[in-house]
Assembly symmetry: C2
């Protein structure tokens, strides 16, 4: 196990990489902890949950809504959870987002930890303190920014991870390489998903490298005034079409990244769209851009990154260098309709 | 108008005392602001709202629930509210708590200001950043601590304030005097509600003095690790019986203060219970303690101030000096059943 600590604005967060789930019992007091997970994980990893108070939710993004948060809150009340209770979200982004959100508002804030169980949650969703729920078609419209107390990485959860979820996670890994890490992009170009699935050491190194990229960005700009916005590469359009077409997050942002590359070529002379498209396809991600432009733009207008009549859009100047451009909504509407 | 600024952990808050509502237009941009108020205020003060985007809610504590927050969120979406939108809660504690809560979670946080329109909101509820909603019988079980950007005090709202609401507010004023300000307690002993209702200058001074007491306590201890707990005097039992008997907040904490005086006499030799009871009665507040002990204790067990097997209870050593005592729940159960 390797421990690493990041200092955010109001809190330091401990990361336990390459750890065993059982280590959780050394971090927190079983009696005053409630685990939150979903049915899939609970069934696949039943042994791990023995002896822990656990709330088990239905799996899937469609349950990342206020009604589920209400249900968790009612179960916490029924269990007599108080301010000293610690919540631990064990799952993918849906579980960690929802658990972080409930922890932020229950009795005005409980301590919370995460055990990410998907590649996507390990490299992205569980890091950085953003939590939340969806409202209708709007992803993460409600939530807070509040750091967890710890993150525990147990790669054994990945053994039961479906192929589609692996692909999902690599969308965020490719994103990180595009905006921040050209050498990582070249590594990804050389390999395939199978390589990381088979080589435990390479996978551990890759996950940690990506967790570090994200954590370093967030450490510099927790409340997204500048640098952190880069992490939204592919996400503006991605979020708009994700619920529209019931895409996985990875699929949605892959299409979003392809679109952002095309916009980058138009506005900041980005030349390597083809390379990005090739890597995305190589890791099983969709690269087409046939979606309902008008409908997507209508949803995109409500994106949190819009500020009055402009949208902060993340573009690439070159591979490894993302930039934020403020694009007037009228111009953006035209660009998207012509994609 | 007098401006005063308090510096809290993450934010400074501007207080505009003795201001006119119209000053709001100089603080914020009308086009990107949404006011939140209730039907009573909206009808009584229709002129003030002209030209402002306004969300009007049903009045009353029974609407301080997640369903109302959901409805506000949906109306914000429908109005295209984005991260640059400012919310302003105009009302009593129900409105400022709910508006503060929605502002804390909508798009992970909007700027928010309050225009308290009741004595209680002016001296207490709108100050200190605590926001939230009730869940079933549990008051403020869900919420956050997040400071508003500004508070604007326009005493003209008090002209239409019902007598019961005046009494409500004086419960918190008496509370402040008990825990922090013996000279204020003596001033209150000498006067009656009518005096403050008739003398605008005396009222303005009283409200400001109380706003300062609360703000100073919160400034020292925003996240309630010590000093801020004193503000819960009368509130532990008060919250338990408030929804149980559909009492007003002032009535509930008045009974809670009487009980806390009695516990103070038992545990820290407080000698002036009679004086406190006399002042409460003098301002029209109930001082009996006939309530269902068992049921009240069952609700009280879920109070946010409980920590595992102990409750942080606020007692009085003398008038003007509150103290926090950790009382084991088993002992507290006995004390309450014998009140």
């Amino acid at each position: 196990m390797q421990k690493k600590t990041y200092q955010f604005t109001a809190k330091k967060v401990d990361y336990y990489f390459d750890a065993d789930f059982s280590y959780l019992a050394r971090l927190i007091d079983k009696e005053h902890t409630v685990l939150v997970t979903d049915e899939n994980i609970f069934q696949a990893q039943a042994k791990k949950f023995k002896g822990w108070h656990t709330i088990v939710l239905k799996p899937g993004e469609q349950h990342k809504v206020q009604a589920t948060a209400n249900s968790v809150i009612e179960q916490l009340i029924a269990r007599g959870a108080d301010r000293k209770t610690v919540l631990v979200g064990i799952g993918g982004g849906v579980i960690t987002d929802l658990t972080g959100y409930v922890a932020a508002v229950y009795m005005r804030g409980l301590r919370v930890g995460f055990v990410p169980t998907t590649v996507l949650a390990m490299v992205d969703a569980s890091i950085g303190g953003k939590n939340g729920i969806d409202v209708g078609v709007y992803k993460n419209l409600v939530g807070t920014i509040r750091q967890p107390d710890f993150l525990l990485y147990d790669y054994s959860f990945l053994k039961s991870l479906p192929e589609t979820e692996w692909i999902n996670g690599f969308a965020e890994i490719i994103k990180h390489s595009c905006i921040k890490d050209a050498p990582l992009f070249r590594e990804l170009e050389k390999n395939k998903l199978k390589y990381y699935q088979k080589d435990k050491a390479a996978l551990g190194k890759l996950i940690r490298r990506n967790a570090v990229i994200k954590s370093t960005v967030v450490e510099k700009d927790e409340f997204e005034q500048g640098e952190r916005r880069l992490l939204n590469f592919g996400h503006t359009l991605g979020h708009a079409i994700e619920n529209m077409y019931a895409l996985s997050h990875g699929q949605a942002i892959s299409i979003g990244m392809v679109a952002a590359c095309s916009i980058s070529a138009q506005l900041v002379k980005f030349k390597d769209s083809e390379k990005v498209i090739k890597v995305l396809a190589q890791y099983g991600l969709p690269v087409h851009t046939d979606f309902d432009r008008k409908k997507a733009f209508d949803i995109l207008k409500m994106d949190k990154k819009r500020e009055k009549k402009e949208m902060n859009y993340v573009l690439l100047e070159k591979i490894g260098k993302g930039v934020v451009k403020s694009i007037p909504m009228v111009q953006l509407e035209k660009i998207i309709s012509n994609l």
